[in-house]
């Protein structure tokens, strides 16, 4: 019966620099919770790079095609009208006038698509409540989530962590 413990640190560098040595000692560090982004932490933890930017690109393409389709359908195909003598009867002839809207449409889809994906993927939604691990976890303390497989080894792991700067433990 294994369990998680949270080692609380009070310095981001301590967290950063202790991950490698601790792992080398076979301690299973699952995650680090910090009040602000710590650069390079994802590398230390060996997380895969995020693919949100790829999504963004795809959303952009979708947006561009949707808005262009709308413009083509309403202006050219469905009900062409004579407007100020402009060549409204061929998309390519009148495309100059459509660039601004096409651009805005693209940005709209990209931005919102990506943000929504981010919220869903990270389970960030109104109503979702986060566990309150430690009072100052969003203030100036840092929590290292460690998996303890064998309860008998817990004390040993704690010492190891304390040696590397952990100041507190939360089960």
């Amino acid at each position: 019966m294994s369990k998680y413990i949270y080692a609380i640190f009070n310095d981001d560098d301590a967290v950063m620099h202790s991950i490698k040595p601790l792992r080398s000692k076979g301690i299973k560090i699952k995650d680090v919770i910090s009040p602000f982004p710590i650069h390079g932490l994802d590398h230390e933890l060996g997380l895969n790079p995020s693919r949100l930017s790829t999504c963004a690109f795809i959303y952009g393409c979708i947006g561009l095609s949707l808005i262009s389709l709308l413009i083509w359908y309403t202006m050219i195909y469905d009900w062409p009208m004579e407007i100020g003598g402009k060549p409204n009867f061929a998309y390519w002839k009148n495309v100059l006038a459509f660039i601004p809207v096409s651009f805005e449409g693209t940005v709209l889809c990209t931005a919102h698509g990506m943000v929504i994906t981010f919220y869903l993927r990270s389970k960030l939604l109104p109503g979702v409540t986060a566990p309150h691990i430690h009072d100052r976890i969003t203030d100036d303390h840092f929590a290292m989530k460690v998996l303890v497989k064998d309860p008998s080894k817990e004390q040993e792991i704690m010492n190891e962590l304390r040696a590397h700067g952990a100041v507190e433990f939360v089960a």
Binding site: D11, D13, A14, D31, V32, I33, S34, P35, F36, P37, I38, H39, L41, D42, L45, L47, P49, S50, L52, S53, L70, T74, M75, D78, W79, I83, K86, N88, N94, A97, F98, P100, V101, F103, E104, G105, V107, L108, T110, A111, H112, M114, V115, F118, R121, S122, L124, P126, G127, V128, A130, P131, H132, D135, R136, I137, T138, D139, D140, G165
Partner: protein, 471 residues
């Protein structure tokens, strides 16, 4: 080496602030009762807002005849205010997006309120789009909505439709950008509410708005990715928005409007007025919420430089217009500009020149740049000047166009003036509420530079001659 920064650089956080101090300083005003100063400001703003509601309702009820516009001058204060507000909005996005791309750390303590300003300014701008319509109750028609007439769509040739798309995209994207940044800080407030066992509404409110933010490594990784991409999107977006606003005029045929330099000239103007407004607001905010430690003279100095540069760019634009008007030899154009500077609206033109081109030049001197009082004064000047710029462009061009028989003058009515003053009320009510309930500084992001750019860090460096690290 992520923390290394030359000790020569000015510290961005003063008074030996630690991570915890930051949290404290920024959360305190939110958790405490508002100050007298806040109440005073809020009352004034609320009164203006009430006046706004009154004037707008009168206009909606009676018709646009309650304004001073006429057959020749179809737009006056309404669109002037619209462009003015949109312009102001731009600084926010610019600071958070462009400066993020350029990795300007000094943005961190001002971007939050700047973005808030963006959103509120755009709300004010939008209010003018609606109220200037003859039939505001059908204000949704310019959107490409399917309707009972089947084939009845919008005109994608019209700069106004471009506007609709630009403004709505700009508003919604800025909003999510801003909100995404707010989530970790809401989490801070949430946890403090739980820890200190504050009023239950705080617990529930902040835990709802923080969307259950944890702050795990993956969270932060994605968070930074999103911020980066949004910044990358917002930068061309913000430029496109004012470009399109300028096209409302540039794509028309009216002398004084039909000008190809409008897009860059408007964008520069937008940054110019935006930064001025940021100055105005922050100088007030840092006083009211005593945040001098985070919004430092250095920040003010930086922004003053931007104001000075953009102000000069705008000045060049004014001169270019005149040159082209003369060089083109088109009689309508040249008359339009002669009339602008010497005709019935000379006063508007010269107050614009004084406020926009001459007044910022004072910032060539460091003394001036670093003086809070002077900065405040100049920022107000610039705001006034930029309002006049739009007034001059719109009214002085329309009032004497092609056929002398239709030449006319514009005289604002109390309703028009009231709606403008009222819109300021709307803006400040929103901003003061924001300052009261939202963290006005992006704590989490600011914390990332404590180790590099705080006085404490700098001292540490001096003592140990090496970068700060764990004890």
């Amino acid at each position: 080496m992520s923390h290394y920064e030359s000790p020569l650089r000015k510290p961005l956080i003063l008074q030996d602030k630690t991570l915890h101090d930051i949290t404290e300083d920024i959360c305190r005003p939110i958790e405490q009762k508002p100050t007298k100063l806040w109440y005073a400001a809020f009352t004034v703003a609320a009164v203006c807002l009430a006046w706004w509601i009154a004037c707008v309702s009168y206009t909606l009820g009676t018709g646009l005849g309650t304004w001073g516009t006429n057959k020749t001058i179809g737009w006056a204060w309404d669109i002037t205010n619209f462009v003015w507000w949109v312009g102001i909005g731009h600084a926010g996005t610019l600071i958070s997006a462009v400066l993020l791309l350029f990795r300007q750390k000094w943005r961190l303590s001002i971007n939050r309120s700047a973005e808030a300003m963006t959103i509120f300014a755009v709300i004010c701008a939008a209010s003018f789009i609606v109220s200037h319509m003859g039939r505001p109750w059908v204000a949704y028609w310019p959107l490409p909505l399917p309707n009972q007439f089947g084939s009845l769509w919008v005109n994608f040739n019209s700069a106004l439709v471009w506007d609709v798309f630009a403004i709505s995209t700009y508003f919604s994207v800025s909003l999510v950008f801003w909100y995404t940044g707010l989530i970790p800080d809401f989490a801070v407030l949430r946890d403090r509410a739980i820890a200190k066992n504050l009023a239950p509404w705080r617990k529930s409110f902040y835990s709802t708005v923080s969307f259950g933010w944890m702050g795990t490594a993956k969270n932060w990784q994605r968070f930074e990715e999103v911020s980066l991409v949004l910044a990358g999107l917002s930068t061309p977006l913000v430029l496109s928005v004012h470009t399109i606003v300028s096209m409302d005029f540039a794509t028309s045929i009216i002398p004084g409007w039909h000008t190809t330099i409008f897009p860059p000239y408007f964008v520069a103007g937008a940054i110019f007025s935006g930064f001025a407004m940021v100055q105005t607001l922050l100088i007030i905010t840092r006083k009211i919420l005593n945040l001098e430690a985070y919004i430092t003279i250095y920040h003010i100095d930086m922004m003053n430089r931007v104001i000075m540069i953009t102000g000069s760019i705008v000045g060049c634009a004014y001169i270019t217009e005149f040159f082209i008007a003369w060089y083109s030899g088109v009689e309508y154009e040249s008359y339009c500009f002669v009339n602008r500077a010497t005709g019935a609206y000379w006063w508007a033109y010269w107050s614009m020149m004084t406020c926009n081109v001459f007044s910022p030049q004072i910032f060539w001197s460091k003394k001036a740049r670093t003086s809070v009082a002077l900065t405040f004064v100049v920022s107000i000047f610039v705001n006034i000047g930029m309002w006049f710029e739009r007034y001059v462009i719109i009214v002085s061009s329309l009032h004497r166009d092609f056929l002398p028989s239709s030449w006319s003058m514009h005289h604002p009515t109390f309703t028009e003036v009231g709606i403008f003053i009222g819109s300021l009320g709307l803006f400040f009510v929103l901003f003061l509420l924001f300052a009261k309930f939202f963290p006005v500084i992006a704590m989490s992001e600011l914390k990332t530079i404590v180790k590099s750019s705080s006085t404490q860090a700098k001292k540490h460096q001096k003592e140990h001659g090496e970068l700060a690290s764990s004890h």
